[in-house]
């Protein structure tokens, strides 16, 4: 009831504020003043609803927090999705179904859809890579796209100068990126938080500026064209076939990334990363080598960006520095944050939403950034842990089971 009253007050206030703008219109050619009274209604109604929903959601959130504090409701209890993920049988089935959909996709939809899907998958891998650095190890990286650029340019240049093929350069690009990750890692080993973020931001800028200005090396802003598409035993493929082929390579790459990052997450090294994120001093005091752990997090995060960078160059057959702006880094970071730091499924969903939505909402392309911004703000207020938050692995013990059964 209180909400209703407050929302009403807010809507009245907005009507008053927007009155000159929305209602009064001076028609200068006919020299009359038009009164558009209907607009009041729309403004009032829209603001009233918005305000009401907003208040309701906030109240619900607070109520939940209160309940959690008084111990009635566990904030960390698994949500419905998380509970579903725990179910092994359901999980296998869902994965199987997803795989079939993924494999059938290029045959059901046209080349255009496949192309969009490829770019979404590229961002999935980028997100999963950054997830290692940011989500697991907690090292905020604002220049991640630099590693993507390293991968893309290593393929473009090696292909241009030496005619090396896609499959040769794919690992090479990853490893080169890894090296750059380590190079970036060394000077920032001692930095934390904001300072770290600024240095990574600078690193991203440096790579872009170098690519733009060192024309002898990178062909400057005009970029590199006619990069070979991936080959399949020297077969000639038309655009449609080649798109499908690239699509399947991407699917394979995504699966590889998911398996590898998933395994890393619950390994000795993955735990060290998370410990580093949680508390650096305690982590070091428990015998973890900070330098090694940080460097490995950077190197492994960069590795995937490098691999997928090669993929990107091969897909577009043309690259220039304009593809590797800060905006890209920001989007990849948004994918990780929106999806849920550290959560693999969350990051995949985040990438799909953030990359596919703008494609399918082309009709609203002018409002795209507004919707994007608003969605991020709402997300951070109501679900700061991301779409699907990270859940730690649970372990089963014989002793523990017997005890609980006896009780």
């Amino acid at each position: 009831m209180k909400n209703l009253k407050q929302s009403l007050a807010v809507s009245l206030w907005f009507i008053f504020l927007t009155f000159p703008l929305m209602v009064v219109k001076v028609n200068t050619s006919d020299k009359i003043v038009q009164w558009r009274w209907m607009n009041i209604l729309w403004v009032g109604l829209a603001i009233f609803l918005l305000s009401f929903v907003w208040r309701h959601a906030l109240a619900r959130k607070e109520a939940r927090q209160m309940a959690a504090q008084s111990g009635q409701d566990d904030l960390n209890k698994p949500t419905r999705i998380q509970a579903m993920l725990e179910d092994q049988k359901l999980r296998t089935r869902a994965m199987f179904a997803l795989l079939i959909v993924a494999l059938a996709f290029p045959w059901v939809f046209d080349t255009y859809q496949s192309t969009i899907m490829i770019s979404a998958l590229i961002y999935v891998v980028l997100g999963l890579g950054l997830n290692i650095t940011v989500g697991l190890a907690g090292l905020l990286d604002l220049g991640y796209v630099a590693f993507f650029a390293v991968g893309a340019y290593s393929y473009a240049l090696l292909n241009h100068h030496f005619g090396l093929g896609f499959w040769t350069v794919l690992p090479v690009g990853g490893i080169l990126s890894c090296l750059f990750g380590v190079i970036l890692g060394f000077p920032i080993l001692r930095l934390r938080g904001d300072y770290l973020a600024i240095v990574t931001l600078g690193f991203g800028m440096i790579i872009k500026v170098v690519l733009e200005n060192w024309s002898d090396f990178s062909f400057g802003p005009s970029g590199i064209a006619n990069i070979d598409k991936p080959s399949l035993f020297g077969l000639k493929m038309d655009i449609a076939a080649s798109t499908t082929y690239i699509y399947y390579i991407m699917i394979a790459l995504v699966i590889l990334t998911v398996i590898v990052t998933g395994r890393l997450k619950n390994s000795r090294i993955g735990r060290a990363w998370i410990a580093l994120r949680e508390d650096e001093i305690a982590c070091v005091a428990m015998g973890i080598d900070m330098a090694r752990t940080k460097l490995s997090a950077y190197a492994l995060g960069a590795f995937w960006a490098g691999m997928v960078g090669v993929m990107f160059a091969a897909k577009t057959t043309f690259i220039n520095p304009a593809s590797f702006t800060f905006m890209e880094s920001a989007i990849i970071l948004s994918i990780v944050v929106l999806g849920g730091m550290g959560s693999i499924l969350g990051v995949i969903l985040g990438a799909m939403i953030l990359i596919l939505m703008p494609e399918y909402l082309r009709a609203f392309s002018e409002y795209r950034m507004i919707i994007f911004g608003a969605a991020m703000v709402l997300m951070m207020i109501f679900r700061p842990q991301g779409i699907i938050s990270n859940v730690r692995q649970k372990y089963q013990f014989k002793g523990l089971k017997e005890k609980t059964e006896n009780v």
């Binding site: 395994r263 949680e278 730690r392 002793g399």
Partner: protein, 267 residues
Amino acid sequence: MSDTDKQVLLEVKGLTMDFGGLRAVDSIDLSVSEGEIAALIGPNGAGKTTFFNCVTGIYTPTAGDILLHPKGKPTRRVNGSKPNKVTTLGMARTFQNIRLFPDMTVLENVMIGRHCRTRTGLTGAILRGAAARKEEQEIVEFSYCLLEKVGLDEFANEYSKNLPYGAQRRLEIARAMATEPFLLLLDEPAAGMNPQETTDLDALICRIRDEEQIAILLIEHDMKLVMNISDKIHVMEYGKKIATGTPNEIKDNPKVIEAYLGEEAEA
């Protein structure tokens, strides 16, 4: 119990730590022997935690020597060694303000302690071969055993941030023990505990010494706990060591009384 027949594990000589013009720790000599529970006490700001931080490698001391004598291994001077190096050598610590990993489960917190005693690398983690799986299993079992010892096994899969305060303290001890130390440094383990919890902690510390053969050096303000369990007490004030001795000697030492209660006014 005489000190001469026991091996000295930690030997600190003339340790000094300056912060700019402030001398927080002033040429402290201290040693901890095998099977000993030693306490470091003193008023707030006496430099006890700074001493701990120097010894465990978080600070590099301005002067002095910190020598570790692990059993059956050569002596190591650890001034300025990185904290993880010191822990690997066999000296683990807990923190005054609890420093757990809040978003990890209780068990995982302890598993982190196993990090420096295990070796699975990147390839092992990715390929998950037989050796890696076996090691992982061992880590889990070892950590679970430790949780049983400190009485936290029922919370194994709980997030550590959800534990009650006293349990968090015990978890920190378990985590430090997972690194297989020969010397455990506890920084105010009883801070914020109720009397019952303190009594339990008392028993736990003695058990660690007797069953695990880990020597203990602790900072504590709870005098009852200190007097109960310590073999030897070192008292610090304004960065200097003012007394060393058994609990009974310390109790009657006029300098210590003065440090805690202020100088007696002359009548």
